[in-house]
Symmetry: C2
Subunit: 321 residues, 2 copies
Amino acid sequence: MVNEYAKSGVDLDKLREYHSLISSRLSSQGLPIGIGHYAGAVRFGDGYIVMHVDGVGTKTLLALRTGIIEPTGVDCVAMNVNDVVCVGARPIALVDYLALERPMDEVVERVIIGLRQGADETGIPIVGGETAIMPGVVRGYDLSCSVVGIARELKIGDDVRPGDVVLGLASNGLHANGYSLVRRLIDEGRLRLEEWAEELMKPTRIYSNSILSVIDKIKAAAHITGGSFTKLRRITNYRITIRLPEPPEIFKAIERAGVSHEEMHRVFNMGIGMVIFVSRENVEEVVRVLSGRGEEVIELGRVEEGQGIKVITYRNEVLHL
Amino acid sequence: MVNEYAKSGVDLDKLREYHSLISSRLSSQGLPIGIGHYAGAVRFGDGYIVMHVDGVGTKTLLALRTGIIEPTGVDCVAMNVNDVVCVGARPIALVDYLALERPMDEVVERVIIGLRQGADETGIPIVGGETAIMPGVVRGYDLSCSVVGIARELKIGDDVRPGDVVLGLASNGLHANGYSLVRRLIDEGRLRLEEWAEELMKPTRIYSNSILSVIDKIKAAAHITGGSFTKLRRITNYRITIRLPEPPEIFKAIERAGVSHEEMHRVFNMGIGMVIFVSRENVEEVVRVLSGRGEEVIELGRVEEGQGIKVITYRNEVLHL
């Protein structure tokens, strides 16, 4: 299989190898959540303190190229708080790490505006951060955030069972994954930046408050980011079968630019930014509450006996991820 | 004044400008610690959850050049936990963010070994992390960490008064600041890497458990990092007068390579990694406990009426920082 993402310098198999190396080096710590889940945790009092770190990857390069900077600040908050709620925790504070190639006044100003916008939407404070100038290490800027959350109980999918319903929440575009691939398509003239700039630079949707509003009525949540639907494996060993709706045009444009149908579903969210697992009796209420909050909720499929992730794509192709 | 650090691409005045811009953008959040102190905090239960983020800067480039990688992992833990205890908090968990230019198996493996070593020495778990491959954004690798801590009360220097004694704890070399400047001196042939490689790649000393062992007997602690002694201003508006002892040879070698005496004290720790403020009656006990833990404790000076930071250097020059 021709792997376009690896050609862009990002080898998902290599990253998986690193993740398993790192897990094995850190496995002896006796943690309540294994390394490699959406967030980590330590016990604290009669609950847990949860922690997570994530960055916006190479979307920053496109931000500089298009001059659309603020959304990367929102992305950075979203990538973290959306993950933190996937272990059942409520985000409570954020710090950012902004590494610059050189002094870049406007970038600093606009990134902070975006971060603040994301933090305000989530309802958490930015309690600190590091701004580093690193000639020789960074080109443009690199932005990551770290979020701390609290949880009375962790929710990591242990009670997901065959028969449970799989719901999807619509994404706001590509969010912050797959940008090295996209940039290569642009550089090779296969995707027109002028045509897609605005779409590509939309900020990641923040789902944290929506997920927390139904947290007692759902069994698990999976933020669809790097690795896309392949990461649903984290949630359960049972078989997950989902049928995806027609994706927004940007995903089709990227596919037409020369990415295989299967790779599209391994790299991009295909219009679904968050997947949640709900027992049948709670579906109606969960859909009602989430829709009331402005989420577009799509019934994707079921958890079934067996193993593996089966995706029926909008073109009716069947993928086993 | 010729500013060697700015010539290396790192303008400390510019960073200060960014810090004050960022503070002003984040000032309306009503936080218990203002932005720009050693760590941030949110109230939680009858105490505080504290959070901090810091990286190892361009020391990574020298790590790659010398092949001495592990210490940067230790540095990353140290830069964070040493800061977190400076607001009176106990670190409880850590996440790391490792951004790579390309797949680099050995770097990943050895950074994790260093991180684990630092975390074990501190006595905290690494609960997660992000390993990103970012062609086009990162050269070599960039490493930062974020630490969460807890505190019953915050200790940020509010009760430091004239008459208090200023103690210093010996550093383990340059720690993780000033490396862009050092690298330029090496590149220009003013400092010989072969001669100083081992010294330059020593890991940052971890002071967290030492500081916590005397936390009830001290009024404030100041981790000496970027900006060196100029950052003592954070602690108190009273005048601080300190006399520094003879620094280790590496600092003299850097100065000889062409950095002004004053700039040395604005960029490098000059042999003092942590400064603590103690009321006169507790000095003896604090020195005894810290010495018993293997710290080399030096009495540096006093807090006095007036304002400003007055440093009497090992060459008996007087600097007003």
